[in-house]
Each structure stands twice: as C-alpha cells, then as structure tokens.
Point group: C2
Chain length 243, copies 2
Amino acid sequence: MNSTPTANDAQPQDKAGNADRYSDVEIAALWRALRERRDMRHFVADTLPEGTLERLVEAAHLAPSVGYMQPWRFIRIRSREQRERIHALVEAERLRTAEVLPSRNDEFRAVKIEGILDCAEVLVACLMPGREAHIVGRRTLPEMDVASLGCAIQNMWLAARAEGVGLGWVSFYDPDALAALLELPAGARPLAVLCIGHVREFYPRPMFEDAGWGKRLPLASLLFDERWPADADALQTTTPPAY
Amino acid sequence: MNSTPTANDAQPQDKAGNADRYSDVEIAALWRALRERRDMRHFVADTLPEGTLERLVEAAHLAPSVGYMQPWRFIRIRSREQRERIHALVEAERLRTAEVLPSRNDEFRAVKIEGILDCAEVLVACLMPGREAHIVGRRTLPEMDVASLGCAIQNMWLAARAEGVGLGWVSFYDPDALAALLELPAGARPLAVLCIGHVREFYPRPMFEDAGWGKRLPLASLLFDERWPADADALQTTTPPAY
C-alpha cells in the first residue's frame, strides 16, 4: 500500500498499490459473469460435456459457510420418471400460487417458471440434517445455513454462466413432498430444484423484468447511511410487484 | 452447437461449439475469485478508494432474488460510536456462544471471528420489511428471501476479492438489539455485519481450517444420485466440527 498515485494512473484501484488486486481483464471477466448471469427457464435439448456437473458442484463447494458447516447436499436426478414426478410437484405449486395471489394472477400465469423437462440436468440442492448441532454463528441467526446455501448456488450460477451453461432456481414445490420423493432423512430440506443446461440464448434482462412483473430498484433506495432512514418508504423500499 | 469436435481441441467445453462460453482467460479469472475468496477477520488500518463501497453494493444488487423481490438493504456505518456499539453486541454474543458450546470451547475462543474495529468499512445487510406480501416462489419456502440475500453477498464477496479487498461476514449478535441500534422498522432483519477493507494478506485456506476447527468435505460426500443414499452417514454427511 506504499506506491504513489499518479494523475495518469489508468487503474484507479491501483492508486493504493494494492498487490492483492486482480488485473483489469480479470476484474472485467468477473463483472461480465455478475451482469450476464440469468435465472433461466428455457433450455435446448442437449447434454452437457462430461464433468460439467461435477465442476459446478465444486464451484458451489468453494462457497463460505457459517461455522464451516458446509450444509449443502446435491442430488442429481437421473431418470425421466423422477424428473416427471418433480415437474408434477412444481406444476401443482405454480397453480396454487396463481390461485392465492391477491391480484396479477394472469400476469403471473404468463411467466415461465421452470424448464425441468427440457434442461440437460436437474439437480436438487438440500440442507443436510443435523444442522441444529451447529450453533457457531447460528445461535441467534439459525437461518445462516440457508444463507450459506445461497452463496453456494450463486457460485455455481456464475461458474455455469462462464461456461455458457444456463441455470434456473425453482422454488415452487411442497418441500415435504419433494423430500419424500427423494427419500431425504428427517431434518434435511430441499431448497432448490436447479435446472441446468445449454440455452438458445441468455435473456438480456431478468425474465420478470421483461414480463413487466417488476423492475430493478435504484441503488439509492437500498443503501442507507448509519441507520434505517425515517423516509425509507419514499425511497421505494417496498419493491415491486404490488399484487 | 454445430461445430465438430477435434482431438486436439484445447478447450473441452468448446467441443459443443457453445458460443455462449467465455474465453479460457475469463473462466480462469472467475475461478480464481471463487478459489481465493476468504471470510476475512484481519484488516489493515486504511481507507478504501472512493466509490468502492457503492460498487460492491452494485455487485450485490446484480444477484437474483426470488420473485424479483430484491429484499436486500444495506446500512453503511459511518461513526466510530456506532461501530463500537456493534462491536460490543458481537463480543457479547461471541462469549455467549463459547459458554453454551457443549465442547471445544477453548478452540472456539481461539478463533478470531470479526474485524469490526479495524476494517475500512462496516456494512450491515438487512432483509427489508413487508416480505410476507411476496409469495411468488416463497409460498412453501419462505426462507427464499434469506437465500437471495446470500446470493447478493456472495456477489459482493467475489467482487471485493477481485479488487484485492477483504470481506468478512459476522453473524454473532442479537438481531433484535442490532435492529434497535440501527432503527430498523418492524419486520426488517439484520442478517450480516460485513467487515470490508484492505488486508495484510488473504488467508491461503479458510481460517476455520487453519485453526483445526473443521476440514473441507470430499465432493463424494455431498453429491448423490437420484435420491438420498441410505449409506449417507458412511459418506460423512455430518460435517465437522463435532463439538
């Protein structure tokens, strides 16, 4: 952190002489993945190259976890029959959600929410059983196991995007029914049905945005100073959609 | 997906002629960040270049969220007094955790769990209030808001690492006390105290690993076929540490 900044320095972050900083090309590559990653629901009939799925699980497994508990488990669905059963659970919950939405039911019904029958691979991500024994970093925030799984799936999502592979996270299903189908032990919980595979094209924007369901909030509405602002509502802290 | 693979193809993933695939250099850059990201607790006294914090929040905001709810809100802590109050909450919970651990108390006490007073910036990540109105993708899995926040923080973590900036996620505190301190509205929940700043060096391995607290599970113990295996215990599905 000792180098002297110069007026012509092309890399602002280098002004501090930060030896830990990646090259501009590397930083740009990461940001490309951050910006181009999409929650995909349209896939092409295709298989993934050998080893792809294992590599994506490896990316997930590089994620941080609270108290180093590594709570994630993944089940690769092999048979068409199992896929169809999972799809039926998801379709039932999609219809149920549409029924109980207080409004905008038709708009919701128009959005495709999964590609389970079309994608190359279906992977179910679960929280392991026995999590209650892990209290380090979770004694007052037990949901930290869920947050860790979120980190893991985000790693996988970015790694998939970089390989040109789409991933969609489906959370429409009765978790107990899915747990029974996959013979999960008591205490395990399925948190994601992941659809993974090649796509015709990555959506240029989030699908929910293109569908008019919601739009990205401005940064000013979600970054506050020192405390929650009294006028937060005026900053649009209730996000779209209003049903 | 039409090109013909050749035996000399240096890029295995290109065999399928996948036009969506990033260059090898870009993929390597992403994997470098996945591998080198660490949960940091040691920081150097230093400030971050102007705009860094906003850029990290922008990275977070590129994350996916269930039903496009964008549940994340961030509070930047400005004053030394507020920092010291947060530090006091964390220290109280650290001691409380050590007290109630059934064993390994001394080992836990030896692990540094935060750098709140030393890092350049403290950012508190919260779930917004009013989340119960968002049922798309959450009707049966209400914890999906937590998972979305996990994805957002992982984005931020990777973006920080690429810039040579450390980030540590602290989850040791009474969330109600922290909510009161930050004047959170009813229904909002603080899920992370993030310590952000330059570091002397990034840990070569997770700190919990170096401290002997746990070790990384083998991939075979967390990737299953078709259903949860009856012999999962033999595959070490209960992670370290056993207290």
